[in-house]
Symmetry: C2
Subunit: 256 residues, 2 copies
DNA sequence: GAACGCAATAGTGTAGACACTTTCTTGACG
DNA sequence: CGTCAAGAAAGTGTCTACACTATTGCGTTC
């Protein structure tokens, strides 16, 4: 998924850009809005998406809604079954593990390639990026931490020199972002990320691919278990017994 | 124990489905048809896609055409610029290398995971798959070779136990399929794949992750250079000066 | 009282129309 | 002659309408 060519003429190479579509208007706004609804669990996992209702809510017709949903389907947020419509895809604990595993694979590969190919000045850019934010890191708002963290890892991907890796990582990030946010806000969130990142930067400077990959792998794995717990709590909260009013008519629970 | 919290009915498990869309009708057919047009270079790299023309050609309205194009955009086949429409994305030589690199990363990781996790019976499934086709492999039609080859590599991804890897690989395959076909049909195509695959199977049986990954990496890298030449020839053929009839109005030839 | 079938309702899938933007054409002006 | 401008043509983005499918609700039968 996902790249997009930007402007005008066809920029010849597959422009490593990261996000593919830009419908400027309703369609784009619909995409962003619906994505937010998904990310914030306003649209709940397993739930059927009512296009008409959504289109009323957003004040546009069903056409841009459907375009946005199609895009979200390609990106794995929702699924579409023939004559029944779109459903919110639910990321189970298991699916989450798979995604994190993929992320680990991509990031480790990116780190290795970065060590092999990046200019010294580029590596230095990574160092600078981290040093610029490391001090206030712990104290930021969750959204800021999240953005800075994603930025750090994305920068590694960029320095790998392979735009496809950037695209992949960005796409993965988008899918697990809501969970990461939940995890960051969760009481169990420890701030060892700071030391992890510093160590990773150090490995990069030394171009020690092996060690850096190991650190990355551990860094990612470390968050997984915490995230699992956070996810479980979040799902419990969203589907807490007693607020059944939300799920008006859910007789058939088979989804995805 | 673990998941299966009490969210009661809607069990939150993600059905690890891999592919998400299924529009059954015009939209699905449009998707397949357009994708074929792209893969076969009927729609040429850099070219602007005319929705009206396409919809006439397929005998449907623009609505399903646009849905298909949106999907193809998310998958990287085409790009969309705001008020100008969809363009055929052109895979440059450089972009091709990036894609192959990504493929190599995914496949190697999948192989390793397979070695770690797969049941013996599953590994045997891989062996059987290959043995069943190895004999007639060289003599098949290009499309068959391609499908069998993809099937082989996809099976490895499946045996990794991570559906995300399967999805990623499938998506990559789709994007480079047309080039692979060109390469298979190209005179330079040597059939060393047979021995490569056999060696990879052997490594899998021995669960020798290191060696298998090395073989895979070489196997993929080996095809890259051949493919590059094949791609160059193909582009030359498609854009050959003198067949301007095809491109009715291409005043701006600035592409690729 | 429960299962079945049929009508009514809700919802998706596609078509066609219209508004607005981009692109092309033509003609005037330097 | 070349440049620019204005109008015409082509094309996209979105809306509304309608057909067809799935779902719900109700009445009938056993």
């Amino acid at each position: 998924m996902t790249e997009r060519a930007e402007s005008t003429d066809n920029d010849p190479l597959l422009a490593g850009e990261t996000d593919t579509r830009r419908t400027a208007d309703s369609s784009e706004r619909a995409y962003n809005t619906i994505r937010k609804l998904l990310v914030e669990f306003t649209l709940k996992p397993g739930e059927r998406i009512n296009e008409v209702q959504l289109s009323r809510g957003l004040g546009v017709s069903r056409t841009p809604i459907r375009e946005a949903l199609n895009r979200l389907a390609s990106e794995g947020f929702v699924s579409l079954t023939p004559n029944r419509g779109f459903f919110v895809r639910n990321l189970s604990t298991e699916g989450l593990l798979d995604l994190y595993e993929l992320r680990s694979i991509i990031e480790c590969a990116a780190f290795k390639l970065m060590c092999e190919r990046a200019e010294d000045s580029e590596i230095d850019r990574l160092r600078q990026y981290w040093e610029a934010i490391v001090d206030g890191y712990r104290d930021q708002a969750p959204d800021i931490i999240l953005a800075e963290d994603e930025g750090f890892h994305l920068l590694i991907a960029e320095l790998s020199g392979n735009p496809e890796l950037v695209g992949q990582l960005a796409s993965i990030n988008a899918r697990i972002r809501f969970i990461r946010r939940i995890q960051i806000e969760h009481p169990s969130h420890d701030k060892t990320q700071v030391t992890s990142h510093s160590a990773i930067v150090a490995a990069a400077v030394k171009r020690d691919a092996e060690n850096g990959m190991k650190l990355l792998r551990e860094h990612i794995e470390m968050t997984v278990s915490a995230t699992q717990q956070a996810l479980k709590d979040a799902l419990l909260r969203v589907f807490a017994p007693g607020n059944g009013a939300d799920l008006k008519r859910r007789r058939r629970a088979r989804d995805t």
